[in-house]
């Protein structure tokens, strides 16, 4: 299965994602420059974390105009798997591929920390290998993870089972309903604030993050 990792100017987790797919998941992976317009041949696309365009105006706001985002849109519409991690999640929100918006963390500080999240929906392309309600130990590292959506939107997310991950026991950033990760209605676009690529090897303190990538692989292999 071929994975692609998008590089926006300012992405800084691109190499980490690449490493995990290649060295840990042992799957083919290529970088995708933000100006490319063709995603042919990829089975899954990762929008990595970082500070695209410095996040100078609003997180993710400028990156979503990158040429590659048109292609990502199309790729998603055709059912391709797209995962946005941290800044990648923020870009997906700005691009309208996922509902809602990000506010600054409640304490106004960047927070880098291992947190616990609960797998709320384990029937997705990104979480099918998690046990129902499994608690995952995955680190966060962000300034803006305080997820916001209006009440109607929240109802919809709940009704359609779109909340995939919730912070467990401790909500680090003030996000609504403890949301840490959501999926689109079609089930092929996931955004999550925690960094699964930072917790895919025991040496780094947890392998729980690997479950996300492995689930994607599982889903893709079954689909074939």
């Amino acid at each position: 299965m071929k994975f692609g990792v998008v590089i926006f100017p300012g992405s800084n987790c691109d190499q980490d994602c690449f490493y995990v797919i290649k060295e840990v998941l042992k799957q083919p992976v290529e970088y995708i420059w933000h100006q490319s317009t063709d995603l042919a041949g990829f089975d899954a696309v990762i929008l990595p974390g970082g500070f695209s365009y410095g996040d100078y105006l609003r997180t993710g706001a400028v990156a979503r105009f990158s040429p590659v985002m048109k292609a990502v849109n199309k790729f998603a519409a055709q059912g391709g798997l797209v995962i946005g991690i941290c800044n990648g999640f923020q870009i997906l929100l700005e691009a309208g591929l996922l509902p809602g918006a990000m506010l600054r963390n409640r304490n106004l500080h960047f927070i880098c920390k291992y947190v616990l999240v609960k797998a709320e929906n384990t029937e997705t392309a990104f979480s099918n290998l998690c046990r129902p309600e499994q608690i995952l130990k995955i680190p966060i590292a962000h300034n803006e993870g305080n997820y916001y959506i209006d009440d109607a939107g929240l109802q919809e997310l709940k009704q359609n089972n779109q909340i995939v991950l919730r912070y467990y026991k401790f909500n680090p950033n003030g996000s609504q309903d403890n949301i840490a990760g959501i999926i689109n209605r079609e089930g092929n676009v996931l955004g999550m604030m925690p960094h699964p690529e930072r917790s895919a090897e025991e040496a780094l303190g947890s392998r729980d993050g690997l479950l996300i990538f492995k689930s994607m692989l599982e889903y893709l292999q079954n689909k074939r």
């Binding site: 987790c13 500070f51 996040d55 300034n143």
Partner: protein
């Protein structure tokens, strides 16, 4: 025209002016004078410090690299490049942007060497947090470091923060950066090959910080004085693109030399590259991308706009290099060429505005500085322990020490730093040293910064030796073998003889300790004029140290892991309290002599701990530093926040005053915990190296208890310890 007034404004003395005139055989032009003024400043020319710095050892166990802007060691086929640098004065007036641009500067020093930055550490000093301005400084500095470092994706994995009155009015912000590269991929900051092209890359040039380096770095602050330097806004996004573009450009093999434009900008980059490359250089300023109108040639030469690089590129390959930079959205402009001869020739629209020998610019006059032992030492070194009342309640003392800002957990700061990006951080902040794996190898490196400036104030020579010994000890506690050193020497005004004495003795102390441990000093930085109206800061020779771990699986952290394991003390506790955190926090005085340091004992203790860790015999290792034995024990109990684990210490020898035993800061001590069955094996190792070893208790329970016969001088629930230690800093920096 050049006038004495110009000279004064530029910080040049009449003497220096005469010298310049003699060197070039005529009156210098304004541009030339400006160029000399920055090159002959302390910041670029090291005019007061160079002679002393030549003492520092340059060789050690691993081959060393001493580059123009940084240095490092070679381990197998990998070069590990690192350096520490200060940004004290800008941070004192604009803490966030001052610290941010400081991070930017040191990172550029690393990637210009061709190395990818893999970690940052920050060594910070502030005045007392009871003053609102110091809170503001600390919040701003930490904010600036997180803003810049996080955005770049370089993890900030360690550091230190201390507080002392002497930093009121002059905080210290020292940042260390580590980078790695394949050893044959390193680049140098020098020109090469007459006819090759000089390319300017990165942000455009404005009137930023003109004269900032010489003027800011060489004038002390007077409180209330209206001194408004143009502090710049850090632009980490551009720097991130610059890192990627530069490394990509270097990978082509067409870049024969590269230097960042930091202090003294284009002047420094062009003249130092030419001087190191033994060539001439010719630059046409018309080609420099400008962002302000009507900039005079001297302004362009002096500008310190951030995020810019100067490259020497093989003739004919300019387009390839320019394309890489423009792909990353950055300027790249051909502005000159390497010439035969040794002249730096600067033209502006065809007209020559400066023409001087590169070596004249870069060989600033060095000053012999008078040096006199400071008067204060005689008084402060006196400490009569008999007059010092022993506390009644040791529990209260311990809690108070744990909550004192210099000792309390620094989590408030490092929580705000991305310390995990790049996925190499095996030991996160919160232990004695950070550990980073080297992907693609079995090895890891450990890194730390250390300096107890109270010791350096009381005894500059020994204080500096201790900084080296303690840094090494911290690395050893992580399982590493100390390998190389960088330093950042922060002192007062060097033209005052007593300040220079402190400087001299500290450099000698570092030299002797490094020689003893066979550690090279591969890079460093000097920051003078750290003074406020109350006087100079405590001498603060911050030591950054790197250690090598052969097997990344054999690493160690400072917190207790399992119930019922033995707690072992390596080293000896002496009756000494001079310069201790206990004296400062409880008795409100910084007095006495720095603790003794027996380098042979230090070596024995370190070797024992390292061998025991590498054999997998050790569960935790933590050195005794500020706050002494009990603070170290408490930290081992509580520093893994989610897994507090108590201990019962029932086998201390109460041969010395209990306060000295509990809180004295005798050097060369490490606390280990291990399986009971490992004790004999560790004892054997200790015997081999002649390191004193004593089993002092065992882990377990929900309290830290110290028994003296039937009495319990210390018995505290872990929650109380944890609350005092974890929450204190956050409480004290909040408004």
């Amino acid at each position: 025209m050049t006038t004495p007034n110009n000279c004064q404004a530029l910080g040049l003395s009449q003497d220096e002016y005469q010298k310049i005139t003699a060197l070039i055989g005529r009156e210098p032009s304004l541009t030339e004078l400006a160029m000399f003024s920055v090159e002959w400043s302390e910041h670029c020319g090291y005019i007061h410090s160079k002679r002393m710095l030549q003492l520092l050892p340059k060789t050690g166990k691993y081959p060393t690299l001493i580059g123009e802007d940084s240095g490092g060691i070679i381990v197998d086929d990998l070069a590990i490049v690192f350096k520490m640098e200060s940004h004290n004065h800008p941070s004192q007036v604009e803490p966030k942007q001052g610290a941010a641009t400081g991070v930017g500067g040191i990172i550029r020093d690393i990637f210009t060497a061709g190395a990818r930055p893999i970690a940052l550490l920050d060594s910070l000093r502030f005045g007392s947090l009871s003053e609102p301005y110091n809170k503001y400084l600390m919040r701003g500095v930490v904010d600036g470091i997180q803003f810049y470092g996080n955005c770049l994706g370089v993890p900030t994995v360690g550091g230190e923060i201390y507080f002392d009155q002497s930093y009121n009015g002059n905080c210290l912000v020292n940042v260390m950066c580590i980078g790695t590269a394949k050893k044959n991929k390193l680049s140098r900051a020098r020109t090469k090959g007459s006819g090759n092209s000089i390319i300017y890359a990165g942000s455009s040039t404005g009137r930023d910080g003109i004269g900032g380096c010489s003027i800011l770095a060489s004038k002390e602050f007077k409180r209330g004085e209206e001194k408004r330097p143009t502090v710049q806004i850090g632009d980490p996004f551009t720097e991130k693109c610059l890192i990627e573009a530069t490394l990509e450009a270097l990978a082509t093999g067409y870049v024969t030399g590269i230097k960042d434009m930091g202090a003294a900008g284009l002047t420094c980059a062009s003249s130092e590259m030419a001087s190191s490359g033994h060539t001439g250089i010719e630059i046409e300023l018309k080609g420099v991308p400008l962002r302000e109108k009507n900039m005079a040639p001297w302004e362009i030469m002096m500008s310190e706009s951030q995020e810019r690089m100067l490259l020497c590129v093989k003739k004919g390959k300019e387009k390839i290099i320019e394309k890489i930079f423009s792909k990353w959205g950055l300027n790249a402009a051909l502005i000159g060429k390497v010439t035969g001869g040794r002249l730096v020739r600067i033209k502006h629209k065809g007209k020559v505005v400066a023409e001087v020998k590169a070596d004249d610019l870069t060989s600033a006059p060095l000053y012999e500085v008078p040096c006199v032992k400071p008067d204060y030492l005689e008084t402060v070194n006196r400490l009569d322990l008999h007059r010092l009342a022993e506390p009644k309640d040791y529990n209260q003392v311990l809690l108070k020490l744990l909550g004192s800002p210099s000792i309390a957990s620094k989590e408030w700061a490092y929580r705000q730093y991305d310390h995990m990006v790049q996925t190499n951080t095996l030991v996160l902040p919160g232990s004695d040293a950070a550990v980073l794996r080297l992907k693609g190898t079995r090895k890891a490196i450990a890194a730390t910064t250390d300096c107890n400036s109270s010791y350096c104030y009381l005894n500059p020579y020994r204080g500096a030796q201790i900084a080296v010994a303690e840094a090494a000890r911290n690395l050893v506690c992580a399982g590493a073998e100390p390998a190389a050193v960088t330093d950042c020497l922060n002192f007062g005004n060097p033209t005052k003889p007593d300040r220079f004495w402190q400087f001299k003795h500290c450099v000698e102390g570092i030299t002797s300790a490094c020689q003893f441990f066979n550690l090279p000093v591969v890079s460093g930085n000097v920051s003078f004029y750290n003074e406020s109206p109350q006087g100079a800061i405590f001498p603060t020779p911050a030591i950054g140290m790197i250690g090598i771990i052969q097997d990344a699986k054999k690493i160690c952290t400072q917190y207790f892991k399992k119930e019922n394991e033995a707690v072992v003390l390596l080293g000896v506790s002496k009756e000494e309290l001079g310069g201790s955190g206990y004296l400062k926090e409880i008795h409100k005085t910084v007095r006495g002599d720095a603790p003794e340091l027996d380098l042979y004992l230090e070596e024995a203790v370190q070797k024992t701990a390292r061998e025991a860790i590498s054999k997998g015999l050790v569960s935790s290792a933590h050195d005794c530093a500020e706050g002494g034995l009990l603070v170290a024990l408490a930290e081992s109990c509580i520093s893994d926040r989610d897994n507090l684990l108590g201990a019962v210490i029932d086998n201390l020898t109460f041969e010395i005053r209990p306060d000295a035993l509990f809180f004295g800061e005798s050097q060369s001590r490490i606390i280990l915990s291990c399986k009971n069955s490992s004790v004999p094996k560790i004892r054997k190792i200790a015997d081999k190296y002649k390191a004193p070893l004593r089993v002092i208790g065992k882990t377990g329970g929900k309290k830290l208890v110290v028994l003296n016969g039937k009495r319990k001088p210390i018995a505290l629930p872990l929650e109380d310890l944890s609350k005092a230690w974890h929450k204190s800093l956050e409480k004290q920096v909040s408004l």
